[in-house]
Symmetry: C2
Subunit: 226 residues, 2 copies
């Protein structure tokens, strides 16, 4: 028996494209590194409010840079990101409250589906420029991920319950306690230490902390181990 | 004869610890990749003013994160960074105007010394928590880098000339035109395209754009090629 896997927590929101990059990298490496990945749906609006931070794209020059950088990173990470046409309406005005409550319900009821449903929500908002705020949009993502219409409806019914609302708030507060001022946040529990890493660009540092090998955002060894 | 080297411009300020990380990585890879590195001393205060951005450490939770992250990155990058005790006095109040004017003068008069003098200024402010705003501090760094006392004095005399002031302003304006909202900024001229990359964590993406191999912040091939 080898050493026990180290636990990694990924705090993310589907509104955040860098969360998507980080999510895909960690989903790939969980099959290669000796880690146990815990996906933690979090509300980015709550993190911003609590930390006093602002979405980076609100500064015009940063917004312009993010757009051009993501068009390079999509190739490098092999994640089909496309900037939404009306960024402010989609990201700032509509937000992700219902979508993240839905993912919270998925995590509570059928956690084995959380990865797929999260990815389908990202595919909608950050790849095909489709809505994720309306009930029909969320149901469509859930069914595309492989949930039955009944399951999806049941989970959607849960998003207005106190239990789900509370759980999403609690996870967001945990991220804040780790020091989050944005997302993604990866929390690595290595030996007796806890390291909080911000952003999708700290995965090589994470490998260093874990004593694992970094092989870029698309690890070539992925197929060999599957 | 192989293909012509691609030109990389590195816009940096010695007040910025992430600029130091980026600088060391590019200095290492310039001996390995087919690139020509142009060091561009820039004034970060000018970039912040022009873009409307604020130093990240002014947000308390970001400041705390930067401090803990840099203590990990120093090992990973093998760059001896140490957070100054009185960050606000050193970084926000004192700033880097004289130091960056001095590096501008070095770049104009004796560019082959720019790498070493820049490194010695970083060693003072971001490793040994020493001043870089007083004339004596700048002279000490210059002499440690290998300039004679006479050369250092001559260059120090230049920092109040219109020519040096104008040059630093011009370089800062060029960085702004590339879209800078902070430092470091790396501008890669590849084929007929110009890519602006922000931060010390885009070096793997840079390798991807250059078609070169990324071997981490401390490339093991460094010794082999020297």
């Amino acid at each position: 028996m080898g050493p026990l896997p180290r636990t990694l927590e990924l705090f993310y929101d589907v509104l955040s494209p860098y969360s998507w990059l980080c999510f895909e990298v960690l989903c790939r490496y969980q099959k290669i590194w000796n880690i146990k990945l815990q996906l933690q749906p979090t509300l980015i609006a709550g993190i911003m409010k609590d930390s006093g931070n602002k979405p980076p794209a609100l500064l015009p020059r940063k917004g312009q840079y993010l757009k051009s950088e993501l068009s390079l990173l999509k190739h490098h990470f092999q994640v089909p990101i496309k900037f939404p046409k009306d960024f402010f309406s989609v990201i700032i005005d509509k937000g992700s409250l219902s979508a993240m409550r839905f993912l919270t319900a998925v995590n509570m009821e059928t956690p084995e589906m959380l990865e797929k449903v999260s990815r389908e929500l990202w595919m909608r908002v950050w790849s095909r420029d489709e809505d994720i705020s309306e009930p029909q949009s969320i149901l469509a993502a859930a069914e595309k991920a492989g949930l039955s219409a009944e399951q999806a409806q049941g989970l959607l019914g849960m998003i207005s319950t106190a239990e789900v609302k509370k759980k999403l708030m609690e996870v967001t507060e945990v991220a804040c306690k780790y020091g989050a001022f944005g997302l993604p946040v990866t929390v690595a529990h290595v030996d007796d230490q806890t390291h909080m890493l911000f952003g999708s660009d700290r995965m090589e540092l994470l490998a260093y902390l874990l004593g694992e090998k970094w092989m870029g955002p698309v690890p070539p060894a992925l197929n060999a181990r599957l």
